[in-house]
């Protein structure tokens, strides 16, 4: 009996209040719709596929944003949080231990999911943070002011390291002339950023510099990487998704061909968000026309089209919901607790894979070892003679036998046990 493959869902959220819609990627059936939710781009995050977090666009006129958590199987909001400023961009780390939000005033917020504590908040950009991504624990933030900064979270979270560091950030890139719209990172510490200045730029985090810049005929609002990392997809405001080479083919030096290899085009309005499936065969795009399209990347055709709402789709995600017992969710705190003295709640989640089974067949192991040992010491065990005599013998004899017994016991048994122990836990 093969277990069915885990269900893959396509999630989509809109800046209009149309909730988070979800469709089964395989069957195309619409599943639960989480309401309410109105999110700006890059504000929807799946927390290690355990639950969903979405930063809400502030209602017009107000300057307070909220962050909603949703459980997979419940349509309504599970927990509402009220951070200090509206959150524009939201991501979670791979294990779902932390949520990182970029505020509309340019601050970054780092929350611990297990407790909701705000571990640290810091000023990052002069204008709103538009997009975030994580490579290991290097955080890359892109801002409306065109800047990209790379933060080492280990340094950021530690007071002493912050003081020792020359700059609060690891790198600061200012090559983008207009707001940075999306960032994606991949193997080998390579980061791709897109911007309204009609370029995508490729950065190396380990070298701390720009590797390439690629120009497009239109503003690029989103990027997604093919998991094989040889191409990335850039969603343009003109409705096309540009297939772009990551590397340069060295054999074609001299020619001034662009890296743009082709485009996926379904004559839609601007492409606002992209998500690539883990096998690289499917690409999901969200468009301003309110549709979500699933592309076959080999045939470059639309294989499915989901209608989300009238409003523009701002976020798409591909998730594999893990229906595990999520410990109670805590709302994200607005402020750091006083003097940072609070004990962070370092938690260990139940990990069944760490369970060590109790070894069976101890008796046989014991016997095998024991016989081996006995043979070494003369072929036959005298222990039982001595044992019998101990029971029947006189007191003085008993003492003598006992001594001998203990000696032998030490000799045999502990050697046996040591070997057993070592054979069991090599």
């Amino acid at each position: 009996m093969a277990t069915p493959p885990p269900k893959q869902l396509v999630l989509a959220a809109s800046s209009a209040d149309a909730g988070v819609a979800s469709w089964d990627l395989r069957t195309g059936a619409e599943e639960i719709r989480h309401r309410p939710c109105a999110s700006r781009p890059r504000a929807l995050a799946s927390v290690a596929d355990r639950f969903l977090a979405a930063a809400q666009a502030p209602p017009s006129g107000s300057n307070s944003g909220t962050v909603h958590f949703y459980h997979w199987d419940k349509p309504q909001v599970a927990v509402k949080s009220f951070p200090a400023e509206p959150i524009r961009a939201l991501i979670a780390d791979q294990e779902g231990s932390y949520l990182i939000g970029g505020g509309s005033n340019g601050n970054l917020f780092l929350w611990e999911v297990a407790s909701g504590e705000l571990l640290h908040t810091w000023f990052a950009h002069y204008r709103a943070v538009r997009c975030l991504t994580l490579y290991d624990y290097l955080l890359v933030s892109g801002s409306e002011d065109g800047g990209i900064k790379v933060w080492d979270l280990i340094t950021v979270l530690d007071e002493q390291s912050r003081l020792e560091a020359q700059t609060p950030y690891l790198y600061s890139f200012n090559q983008h002339a207009l707001p940075v719209t999306d960032i994606a990172c991949f193997l080998g510490a390579i980061v791709v950023s897109s911007s309204e200045d009609q370029t995508c730029k490729i950065w190396s985090l380990s070298e701390g510099r720009m590797l390439r810049s690629i120009s497009f005929p239109t503003s690029i609002d989103s990027v997604a990487l093919d998991p094989r990392s040889h191409v990335f997809y850039a969603g343009g405001r003109d409705g096309k998704i540009y297939v772009t080479a990551m590397g340069v083919d060295i054999s074609s030096h001299g020619s001034d061909d662009s890296s743009i290899l082709g485009a996926l085009d379904d004559h839609s309005k601007g492409v606002t968000s992209l998500a690539s499936s883990t096998d690289g065969l499917l690409l999901v795009s969200g468009s301003e026309d309110g549709n979500v399209r699933v592309w076959d990347t080999r045939s470059q055709q639309v294989t499915r089209k989901f209608k989300h709402s009238q409003g523009p789709v701002t976020n798409v995600l591909i998730v594999m919901p893990k229906r595990v017992n999520v410990p109670p969710l805590h709302p994200l705190r607005k402020l750091c607790s006083a003097n940072g003295k609070v004990e962070t709640r370092s938690v260990i989640l139940p990990r069944p894979e760490n369970d060590v089974p109790i070894p069976g067949n101890r008796t046989s192991i014991f016997m095998e070892r024991y016989f081996d040992e006995l043979q070494k010491y003369g072929g036959s065990s005298r222990l039982f003679d001595s044992g019998l005599n101990t029971q029947n013998g006189t007191h003085s004899q008993q003492g003598e036998w006992k001594g001998r017994y203990l000696e032998l016991q030490d000799l045999f048994v502990h050697e046996v046990l040591d070997q057993m122990a070592s054979s069991r836990n090599p």
């Binding site: 002493q160 040889h230 083919d249 061909d257 290899l261 082709g262 008796t363 046989s364």
Partner: protein, 879 residues
């Protein structure tokens, strides 16, 4: 069925064989109750027969039609076996009882499900009576514990018997505790049984929880057990929170353990640390205003009447290690609910112990005596080892949750490296570096870069692995002590390089040359040198292997991170270590290997692994020592049947990407590193080079001549002409030399590849040759003076002149290549422009339109590529 009637069998697979064998075993070989002792050989063969043939399984699988006669016969045979075994157990003879219990334990494992479900309660009672009978022999008690444990393990597979099993488990707890408390010798097996019960039927222990806890705590914290069993006790103690599953019970246990350990340390570390430490940790564990939890093992006042010095050794230290082992197990094993870890206290406690180096704290307390200090120092390694294990377990258990404490742990381990001089501790400290880097990724590598590189270099850079290993207590001094007069002048600067990681590119440029001077020297005549009275100390193999593994991890995680600061030195070191390790392994002569210690082949494997990582993570288009590395891998591959050979063939496969500079079409995976990294390297290089030259002149002249006139590939040509061993040494030096200039080598190489790729008629070999020549030419153009001084004063040997001629030959040829390559060199920037010719055949219809659209803009792009120095300026480190 012939077998049924006792005639001939159809073969070894005849199902009738089994009942017949079993009948024979019971009738002829199994002793009667009260019978004489059997020789162990006989018993062993009996056990073997039962298990090999599966005589007790009663499972007729391959006999398609169910044969009631056969089933019946087998059942009868097993019945008689069980009957006999039970009779043995019930016998008055201790030996029979022991033997019966043994075979009963085997029966638990082997018998069919039906039989087990039918008779387990009966069997349980039999063994229980063994356990309860106080007069029974220790061996009988021991085997009873073992087979009882087997019974429960089997029973746990029957979901429908859970209730009964649980009540059985509950009944056994008391007798086991009694054995545990009274009988020291079988405590080990008793605790195993207890652990099985706690693990499988935690609820059954609930009633006895306090008794169980105090019994185990007494054993852990008592004095009479030696270290080994108390680890088992610690593991059982770690399991106890699962008796009452809740977030609190787990946290409470770890809190109580930490309090006990902290208190024990208060006494131990008097005068050796700031006396506030203990108090501070206590505040973290029990915040003011909170009631402290009951103390673990309250009633135990262990070692009360033992002398204070002895008490520390036989009581305090083992107790601490057992308790910390318990913590480690708790942190890394499964617990059904999410739990909180008092991380701050844990980190503080680790810090407290690991940073005690035995020196007196500033304020010398009158209570500290030199005897006490000596005592602590004696035990310090084992304490450190325990806490390193704990740190390891913490990293493993906490995973991403470690992040807020990452910096403090990184600081701790960095500081600890200054203290860790003993091989075992150093090895463990290295493994923690590896763990940190793998768990938290490239950011950690950034912090640990300096520690890793400087320590690994210090450990690896003595004589590159001597078999006559004498334990070194101070690896960083090794190279100084070992310096011979010949090199003493150059060696003077060495410690700086080793102890403080190369801070600038100049240092990186010098050090390889000096180092190589020593390294190659020893590999060629190392043995002779050791006999000449220089008493040499070298780092133990285990430490070297750990250092290599750590470098490998570093290269994998952050190989191109701030590469200009450390890569050249590390790459050189790795090729040297790998070469000398492989040379040693192949040489004849007595190989001394201590039992339990890693052998030279382990060092070979570790060094080759690190070498592969260095190649694959090279920030340059072509790693500098690729040719030599491939030679090593090719040699290693021949050692069929060893791990080394397995790894070498894997390595060669992995290097395929680098060895065949084919233009991969973009449809296939383009290695990100090689495709992207070459742009604009010329710029940084030109900045570095003059510095490197100057500094070299300052230090020594005799190697300068051979320094950068030979590219990495060139020795391949020289080798082809055939050289003697001394010649190889020289070549090595030369080959290993140009490290500082590697960045220079790279751009032309890439262009060479670029040149070679379009003309498909070029074979791979030709391309390599071409690139080598070009590089050679490049060098001569860059440093026209250097190649003239080839005749080195020290080694004027046959092969040297040979090489010289060879080289000049190369030079002579190079002008032919000169013209195109210089063109290519200038076209370097051009090729920075994003180009994708390998791909544009396929989607041509689409891409051409874009190309037209952006034809002008790609020109702008190439302009922006030129602005790369601006970006570099943005890097805070370059300030």
């Amino acid at each position: 069925m012939a077998g049924a009637s006792g005639g001939f069998l159809s073969g070894v697979n005849d199902p009738w064989l089994k009942p017949r064998l079993l009948r024979a075993v019971v009738a002829e070989r199994l002793p009667q109750p009260g019978g004489a002792e059997l020789p162990p050989v006989e018993l062993a063969s009996l056990l073997n027969a039962v298990r090999t043939h599966g005589l007790l399984t009663e499972g007729i699988t391959d006999c398609a039609p169910a044969n009631p006669k056969l089933t019946e016969a087998w059942r009868a045979a097993v019945d008689s076996w069980v009957e006999r075994v039970v009779a043995l157990v019930e016998s008055d003879s201790a030996y029979s009882c022991w033997l019966g219990t043994c075979f009963l334990g085997v029966t638990f494992q082997e018998c069919s499900n039906e039989r087990f479900a039918e008779s387990y309660s009966n069997w349980y009672e039999k063994i229980l009576s063994n356990l309860q009978e106080p007069s029974s022999l220790q061996l009988v008690t021991l085997i009873s514990c073992t087979s009882m444990s087997d019974l429960f393990v089997r029973l746990a597979k029957f979901g429908n018997l859970k209730k009964e099993a649980s009540s059985f488990a509950g009944r056994i707890v008391e007798p086991v505790l009694q054995i545990l408390n009274e009988n020291g010798l079988v405590a080990d097996e008793a605790i195993d049984l207890l652990r099985t019960i706690v693990k499988l039927y935690p609820s059954s222990v609930n009633r006895h929880y306090n008794k169980v806890e105090s019994a185990i705590a007494a054993k852990v914290m008592g004095t009479e057990v030696n270290v080994k069993p108390s680890e088992k006790f610690a593991r059982t103690l770690a399991l106890l929170p699962s008796v009452r599953v809740s977030e609190d019970s787990w946290s409470l246990m770890i809190q109580r353990i930490l309090i006990v350990v902290n208190n024990l340390l208060n006494d131990a570390f008097i005068g050796l640390e700031d006396e506030k430490n203990g108090h501070d940790i206590m505040l973290l564990l029990v915040p003011p205003g909170v009631d402290p939890p009951p103390i673990l093992g309250d009633q135990i006042r262990s070692g009360g009447n033992v002398h204070v010095t002895k008490k520390f050794r036989i009581c305090t230290v083992p107790t601490i290690s057992a308790l910390m082992h318990c913590c480690s197990v708790m942190l890394t094993s499964y617990y059904p609910v999410q739990v909180n870890v008092p991380m701050r206290a844990l980190v503080a406690l680790m810090r407290r112990v690991l940073l005690v180096d035995g020196s007196l704290h500033k304020k010398l307390l009158p209570s500290t005596t030199s005897l006490h200090q000596e005592l602590i120092c004696f035990e310090l390694p084992s304490l450190h080892s325990t806490f390193l294990d704990l740190l390891n377990a913490t990293i493993k258990g906490m995973r991403s949750q470690l992040l807020p404490h990452g910096a403090s742990i990184i600081r701790l381990i960095t500081e600890y490296f200054k203290i860790a001089k003993l091989p075992t501790l150093r090895t463990k400290a290295y493994s923690i570096l590896q763990m940190l880097m793998t768990s938290m990724g490239v950011g950690t590598a950034l912090h640990l870069l300096e520690t890793t590189v400087s320590n690994a270099i210090a450990d690896l850079n003595d004589d590159c692995g001597s078999e006559m290993a004498i334990i070194s207590t101070n690896p960083s001094k090794v190279t100084n002590e070992s310096s011979s007069k010949k090199f003493s002048k150059k060696r003077k600067q060495q410690p700086q390089v080793e102890n403080s990681i190369v801070s600038g590119s100049e240092k990186a440029a010098i050090s390889p040359r000096k180092r190589k001077g020593s390294c190659i020297q020893y590999t060629s005549e190392g043995m002779a040198r050791e006999n000449t009275g220089h008493f040499r100390i070298s780092t133990p193999l285990s430490v070297k292997i750990a250092a290599l593994e750590t470098l490998e991890t570093l290269l994998n995680v952050g190989g191109s991170l701030r590469a200009d600061q450390w890569r050249s030195e590390v790459d050189l070191l790795l090729i040297n270590v790998a070469r000398s390790a492989c040379n040693q392994g192949g040489s004849y002569g007595p190989k001394i290997s201590t039992f339990g210690e890693p052998s030279i082949s382990d060092l070979q494997l570790a060094s080759l692994k690190a070498l592969l990582a260095s190649f694959l993570s090279s920030p340059y288009a072509r790693p500098p020592y690729l040719a030599k590395g491939i030679e090593l891998f090719t040699k290693g591959k021949v050692e069929i049947g060893t791990k080394l050979a397995d790894f070498c063939s894997h390595a060669l496969r992995a290097l395929d990407v680098l060895t065949h500079p084919r233009a991969l079409s973009l449809e296939k995976a383009v290695p990100v590193g090689s495709g992207l990294n070459y742009s604009s390297q010329g710029k940084t290089v030109f900045g570095d080079q003059p510095q490197a030259m100057e500094v070299e002149d300052m230090y020594d002249n005799w190697l300068t001549s051979t320094k950068d006139d030979e590219p990495a590939e060139a020795p391949v040509n020289v080798n082809a002409t055939g050289t003697n061993t001394v010649g190889t040494t020289l070549e090595d030096r030369r080959q290993l030399d140009p490290i500082a200039e590697d960045p220079i080598i790279d751009p032309p190489r890439v262009t060479a590849a670029a040149q070679g790729a379009p003309s498909s008629s070029n074979s791979g070999v030709n391309m390599v040759d071409a690139s080598a020549e070009e590089i050679a030419k490049h060098k001569t153009v860059d440093n026209p003076s250097s190649s003239n001084a080839v005749s080195a004063p020290v080694y004027t040997t046959n092969s040297d002149s040979q090489r010289h001629t060879q080289f000049s030959h190369l030079e002579n040829r190079s002008p032919a290549v000169n013209v195109p390559s210089s063109k290519l060199g200038t076209s370097d920037e051009v090729s920075d422009v994003p180009v994708a010719s390998g791909f544009h055949q396929a989607p041509e219809g689409r891409s051409t339109s874009f190309a037209e659209l952006f034809g002008s803009e790609s020109g702008v792009d190439s302009g922006s590529e030129d602005s790369i120095p601006d970006i570099v300026d943005g890097d805070p480190d370059s300030d």
